[in-house]
């Protein structure tokens, strides 16, 4: 039995880098897919709206843990031998796309309907309407909830540990197995997560306040 030393803290910090990497992968890919989903949700095409809505309903009704398992084992069956990072990245992208899609749909719908009508009167087609009038306004509304959701992503990457991805939580478990000091080890892990998440939470709150001021 070894005791908890600074070497362990260093190991945790290294693992924290992987937590950040996975969070970024999830946010980038989930963001792109989520953007498409959000646009489909407000599309005039009934089929696209239905697909996006079903996608959101289904993904939001399944625990992330189960999505991870299905992706990890399912892709293996399909013949891809994937590293845990890729499997986790795919699952998180699927998960984030649903939530970001729903958040951003709300932001697009929060833009007053008259803006659509006015831009139509100016002879814009749908693409121009979105690009020049609606999305720039929706973007401003979207910043606080999006930053808030990034906190959720960082926290949820802890689940990738179950498919063997050595992130911060997994590193904590590994160290705890050799030191048997759960309070110190997981306290340390929690502290690192807090240091990653709290600035994001504070930023989200800050943006929210700023947005409220400009809307008043």
């Amino acid at each position: 039995m070894t005791s908890f030393t600074f070497l362990h803290v260093e190991y945790l910090l290294q693992a924290a880098v992987w937590t950040v990497v996975l969070s970024l992968v999830a946010f980038v890919f989930g963001g792109v897919a989520g953007f498409v989903i959000a646009l489909w949700r407000v599309s005039p095409n009934k089929t696209l709206r239905a697909i996006a809505s079903w996608y959101i309903q289904i993904v939001q009704g399944i625990p992330l843990l189960v999505i991870l398992f299905v992706a990890y084992f399912g892709l293996a069956i399909a013949g891809f031998k994937l590293s845990p990072l890729v499997a986790a990245g795919i699952s998180f992208a699927v998960y984030c796309a649903a939530f970001l899609g729903e958040i951003w749909r709300g932001c697009i719908e929060a833009v007053p309907k008259t803006q659509w009508e006015a831009s139509e009167c100016l002879g814009f087609n749908r693409f121009e309407q979105l690009q020049k009038v609606i999305l720039p306004q929706a973007f401003k509304i979207a910043i606080p909830p999006t930053v808030g959701f990034m906190v959720q992503i960082v926290k949820n990457t802890s689940l990738a540990s179950v498919i063997g991805f050595v992130d911060l939580s997994r590193a904590g478990q590994i160290i705890n197995n050799s030191t048997f000091q759960p309070f110190t080890v997981f306290g340390c892990v929690a502290l690192i997560y807090f240091c990653l998440c709290y600035p994001l939470s504070a930023l989200s709150k800050h943006f929210e306040r700023k947005l409220n001021v400009s809307n008043r």
């Binding site: 289904i58 939001q60 009704g61 399944i62 625990p63 992330l64 843990l65 189960v66 999505i67 398992f69 299905v70 084992f73 399912g74 293996a76 069956i77 399909a78 013949g79 906190v151 926290k155 949820n156 802890s158 689940l159 540990s161 179950v162 939580s169 904590g172 478990q173 705890n176 048997f180 000091q181 759960p182 309070f183 997981f186 306290g187 892990v189 929690a190 997560y193 807090f194 998440c197 709290y198 939470s201």
Partner: protein, 227 residues
């Protein structure tokens, strides 16, 4: 690639999976009720005049909201065991889930209480209602009614998050699936089945919350309008 799907070997285990699902429902329901009480008390403490109480609640909410549930579950289960408090996995799960959802509920309920117009409270005081009556009838109940949609989606997220307690081997749905998986080696099939089971559970919970809302909010039922 040649892979034959075999869902039968999963379905023969249905009594166990059903038992797991039932434990998921129990764990979630208990944590939701307890977490709601904790969260509401914290939201009331938020509004108190004591800065110490406010600071304590604020720290609690921020810590819980900025750390992963998985780590909280480990801290409760392994941490408490290391100082001699040996809890069963289910008890540890309920404690961790309650503490977790309590923090989120506190934040939601605070928003609800803040949304009550001060004029309402003044009006109630003018009617000679006691402090308790004012708080109960004019502040808390309308606050719950206003934030009810946010509360229910938070609670459904909690039900889904209860799958995390499988990591400390609380024998709920995901843990049962892990067991079945290790016996049958039909991992993909098992997890697809429980994914559908969780979907069904979340619809069930949503329906239950809708019913609770219908019975609890009499005013809305009678007038058909939102507060």
């Amino acid at each position: 690639m040649h892979y034959t799907f075999d869902f039968m070997s999963v379905f023969v285990n249905w009594p166990r999976l059903l038992e797991g699902a039932w434990l998921t429902v129990q764990l979630s329901a208990l944590s939701i009720v307890l977490g709601f009480v904790v969260g509401t008390l914290c939201a009331i403490a938020f509004k108190s005049k004591s800065w110490l109480l406010q600071a304590v609640v604020k720290t609690y909410v921020e810590i819980i909201r900025n750390t992963p549930l998985l780590v909280q579950v480990f801290l409760v289960y392994f941490g408490l065991a290391s100082i001699g408090l040996k809890l069963s996995a289910e008890t540890a799960a309920v404690i961790a889930l309650t503490v977790n959802v309590g923090a989120y509920t506190a934040e939601i309920m605070r928003a609800g209480i803040n949304s009550i117009h001060p004029g309402q409270i003044e009006a109630a005081e003018c009617l000679g209602m006691s402090k308790f009556h004012v708080y109960w009838h004019v502040v808390l109940l309308p606050a719950v009614e206003r934030v009810y949609p946010s509360l229910t989606s938070q609670f459904i997220l909690l039900m889904l998050a209860s799958s995390i307690t499988s990591q400390i081997s609380a024998e709920e749905l995901t843990a049962t699936a892990n067991l079945v998986q290790s016996e049958t080696f039909r991992s993909f099939e098992v997890y697809v089945v429980i994914a559908v089971a969780y979907l069904a559970l979340s619809f069930l919970f949503r329906a239950a919350f809708w019913l609770v809302g219908k019975t609890a909010f009499v005013r809305k039922r009678k007038l058909g309008t939102n507060l």
